[in-house]
């Protein structure tokens, strides 16, 4: 085994893996989570290799398929959006259009593990305040410039300029590189939000290929944050709009963009028309064509051969998908619906009432009803089984009689009527969950009214609604969602949950780099949130996508990100 640059936490584990004491797949998973590329001899285990666990051990992509053929155009149905400034992208679709032109420091695979990409490896200090990224040395921009740490620093500084309006500034990693300055100017009677600026020494260029980030507080999710969709690394000559000057490090270049119609990518070439050498090894496709189709229309386009692959389809389209001759690909995700309550408003300031709602809910029955072909049962604590730090708590069982008793104790002997606002922002499955809750809660004496809000309007009221069903996107670590949604000071704390003990426990967990130890810490975090019963979160939705049979290597991704480096056409 190559122990060069092996993380200190890995050394004892590596010995156990070689001797067979520790499962090989688990070892590779932990190594990847710690930012290390390692290879074990295949003889060490009979298990199938993981992505990256082959001769291509230094590359973050799946191994080459010996049967793979080069050439061809992959046609994908997806909403085609503008490509203005990758740092201010607001939709994953935008990032997919540029994902094969400009690349990221890290990459989170369909298996939800984050690996080094433009970086070769990373190291974190014991207190998780200092992160050092070692960059690959063989990467060039399309214009011939060498990719260096200065380029990365330029991008981070740009994201941290509060005038840019990039959401990156709100990610844990980058917000931990800022310090507050006196409050900004007030508008009307609104409270001024404080302005921030980059902290001194936050970014250190060690050498041409090494960059160090000095954070003002411990952050666990640094590698994951570097694969958030607006964190693609741009060439320092960049001036928006991107489509006018699309210089990247990726295997493809932009050929044509027509918003709401098509986005055509072709292999990046030099002035003589020869494909540029790509640091990431073989790439099979000649071109990628994105054709604009709303999600409701993508399957029909696939069925009649107008495209080879689609972006996504919803559970209610599953029967139609099954009727099409093609390959359905699904992935477990951290995408969910939180039927969350405002704890600062009646009646949800009453904990017994909230716990009664949880007791009256049968999450497994809802999962079976709404996602009969997949999905994972939720546990009312917003950490999913695919998150590396997930700790399995005992499953909550429905007990309508006990729920009724709790309601009595809460001061509602005759039951009560509640109204939940739902916007179906991620599809009608959200309304289906609310309808299932309505049916289940009847037995406990709770009448649930459903207030259907247009999807575009829901995001205007999501933090204001007393009882609202909010869709949360996938995040590679459970702690990322918890920090965003349940810390008292977070702008996205829609429940107004304010529990110092919870935050202490979460801080403890977030300060542990070793995923196995962190998992143990998460037991108390999950339990604390589950006991507080601030949300009913019955299911983790699966991600569905589909291709024709000629497309190979196209996998559903929990964040709907496209990774086509090893996709080929039969």
């Amino acid at each position: 085994m190559n122990r060069q640059a092996l993380h200190p936490l890995l050394t004892p584990l590596a010995r156990k893996a070689e001797s067979g004491e520790v499962d090989r797949r688990e070892f590779l998973r932990i190594a990847a989570l710690l930012g290390c590329h390692v290879a074990l001899p295949a003889a060490a285990s009979a298990q199938a290799p993981l992505a990256g666990d082959t001769a291509q051990t230094r590359l973050p992509f799946p191994p080459d398929d010996p049967a793979a053929k080069s050439g061809g155009i992959l046609r994908v149905a997806m909403p085609v959006q503008k490509m203005h400034d990758p740092a201010t992208y607001a939709w994953a679709e935008m990032s997919n259009q540029t994902r094969h032109i400009i690349e990221y420091l890290t990459i989170t695979g369909p298996d939800n593990i984050t690996r080094p990409m433009l970086a070769e490896r990373w190291q974190a200090s014991g207190d998780l305040r200092t992160w050092t990224f070692h960059l690959r040395r063989n990467i060039r921009w399309h214009n011939g410039d060498v990719f260096t740490a200065r380029d990365v620093a330029w991008n981070i500084r740009r994201w941290l300029d509060s005038r840019l309006g990039s959401s990156n500034i709100a990610l844990s990693t980058f917000s931990a590189m800022l310090e507050e300055v006196p409050a900004g100017r007030k508008t009307g009677n609104k409270r001024a939000r404080p302005a921030k600026r980059i902290a001194a020494n936050a970014i250190e260029i060690i050498d041409a290929y090494t960059i160090r980030l000095n954070l003002t507080r411990p952050v666990l999710s640094v590698p994951e944050d570097f694969y958030a969709y607006p964190t693609a690394i741009l060439h320092p000559s960049f001036k928006p709009p991107f489509w006018k000057n699309p210089v990247g490090t990726g295997p493809f270049a932009l050929k044509q963009l027509a918003v709401a119609s098509k986005c055509i990518l072709q292999r990046a070439r030099d002035v003589s028309g020869t494909p540029l050498p790509y640091w990431g090894g073989k790439v099979y496709l000649d071109e990628i064509h994105y054709y604009h189709y709303d999600q409701d229309n993508q399957l029909a386009a696939l069925a009649t051969g107008e495209v080879d692959a689609i972006y996504a389809f919803n559970a209610e389209q599953m029967e139609f998908a099954k009727s099409i001759d093609g390959v359905i690909s699904s992935a477990p995700t951290g995408r969910t619906l939180c039927c969350r309550m405002r704890l600062d408003r009646k009646p949800f300031d009453n904990k017994k009432l909230r716990q009664a709602l949880a007791l009256a809910t049968d999450a497994e029955a809802i999962r079976t009803l709404v996602f009969p072909n997949g999905g994972i049962r939720g546990e009312n604590h917003h950490v999913a089984p695919l998150h590396p730090e997930y700790f399995p708590l005992p499953k909550q069982q429905r007990d309508a009689a006990a729920a009724r008793r709790l309601l009595r104790e809460a001061g509602y002997p005759n039951g009560l009527t509640l109204t939940i606002s739902v916007g179906n922002t991620d599809g009608p499955w959200q309304q289906a969950i609310c309808e299932a809750l309505r049916d289940q809660w009847k037995e406990a004496g709770i009448q649930l009214n459903i207030s259907l809000v247009p999807a575009s309007k829901y995001w205007n009221i999501w933090k204001q609604a007393t009882f609202g069903a909010t869709a949360w996107l996938h995040r590679p670590l459970g702690t990322m969602s918890l920090s965003l949604a349940y810390r008292a000071a977070s702008p996205w704390n829609e429940t107004r949950f304010d529990d110092p003990q919870f935050e202490r426990l979460l801080n403890d967990a977030e300060a542990v780099a070793d995923p196995r130890r962190r998992k143990l810490k998460m037991e108390a975090v999950e339990k604390r949130l589950q006991d507080a019963a601030i949300m009913i979160q019955p299911v983790w939705r699966p991600e569905y996508t589909m291709t024709s049979r000629r497309v190979r290597g196209y996998n559903a991704h929990p964040s709907q990100y496209h990774q086509f480096n090893k996709v080929w056409l039969a």
């Binding site: 309006g165 959401s167 189709y293 575009s456």
Partner: protein, 319 residues
């Protein structure tokens, strides 16, 4: 006639001014500005912006100026042929709306080219002999097709011809340039949905004319039926259908939201839906003005045609 035309054009300009002012006022709220910011930057980015940075962003997008300033600037732009800028599509509104209007115009053209002869023929055939078997058959078909929502017709045709038989593409997005085969299903849907209505109007008008005394006189004089219909009945019978047909232009220009969205056809209707979802106000403004112009102009054409077909109107006699 010239007075009529000038009066209608004046009405159109007044209506455009009123509608555009109302739209500006409707979208001149803090909530709308926030919505644009969230759509453009994402909720997380907006929640992380300081107040001064948020204000600076609004200034950059021209959203922070007072309503009257923005309105005057917009009107000034219109006089130069500048309809503004689409925040969602990152392009100038004029060429964007123009390209979509051309596609919708093409759809309307093919639809009308089929609907008009079909509906007039069937309407005349049905109205020639009221209560005959031909009349009952045509009327039943016309009532049935008109009563089925266009979305249901679209789904049925797609299931049959695209997904079932595989003869036609299911969707009509012309990514590789114009393809006639992709226009077939939306045109067919619109023809099926629309022809029945015009057929029924034509039939009623024809039946009324065939019962008129001058037709009875022509029959008693022994004129051949073909001559009676072509020379005497048809011109009068076409007055009502003509008005209806011209008003269909208005519907075909600004009312094809469902069909264009279902078939992913890049016309004005689909563009309006996308702009409304995003809150792309300058695109909404331009399409609204276009819809007002289409409504007023189609009415004007209808009035002119009505006067041309009806001699009493031309001579100023009471109709």
């Amino acid at each position: 006639m010239i007075r009529l035309i000038l009066s209608r054009l004046g009405q159109m300009l007044l209506m455009m001014a009123a509608v555009s002012l109302i739209l500006f006022a409707v979208f001149d709220t803090e909530k709308y500005r926030k919505r644009i910011a969230v759509a453009e930057l994402g909720g997380l980015a907006v929640s992380a912006l300081s107040q001064s940075d948020y204000d600076a962003w609004l200034d950059k997008k021209g959203l922070n100026a007072p309503l009257h300033t923005r309105y005057v600037n917009w009107i000034a732009g219109l006089t130069r042929g500048d309809f503004g800028y689409s925040i969602e599509k990152d392009t100038a509104v004029g060429p964007l709306v123009g390209a979509h209007l051309a596609r919708t115009g093409l759809l309307a053209l093919f639809t009308l080219a089929l609907v008009i002869p079909l509906a007039l023929l069937l309407g005349v055939l049905a109205g020639m002999r009221e209560a005959s078997r031909t009349d009952r058959t045509i009327s039943t078909i016309a009532i049935v097709t008109t009563s089925i929502p266009e979305i249901a017709i679209a789904i049925f045709l797609t299931a049959l011809f695209a997904l079932g038989l595989g003869w036609l593409p299911a969707k009509s997005a012309m990514h590789g340039g114009f393809e006639m085969s992709k226009l077939v299903l939306p045109v067919l849907t619109l023809v099926i949905f629309d022809f029945g209505y015009i057929t029924r109007i034509t039939r009623a008008s024809m039946a009324q004319v065939m019962g008129a005394e001058y037709i009875r006189t022509a029959v008693l004089k022994g004129l051949p039926q073909s001559r009676i219909i072509v020379r005497h009945a048809l011109r009068n019978a076409l007055i009502a259908p003509f008005t209806i047909i011209v008003l269909q232009i208005n519907w075909l220009i600004s009312g094809l939201i469902v069909i264009e969205t279902f078939f992913q056809y890049g016309g004005i209707g689909k563009l309006l839906v996308e702009a409304a979802r995003f809150g792309d106000v300058q695109v909404i403004q331009a399409i609204t003005l276009l819809a007002v112009a289409a409504a007023v102009l189609s009415q004007l054409i209808s009035d002119i045609g009505y006067a041309w077909l009806n001699p009493r109107m031309r001579s100023g006699a009471p109709a």
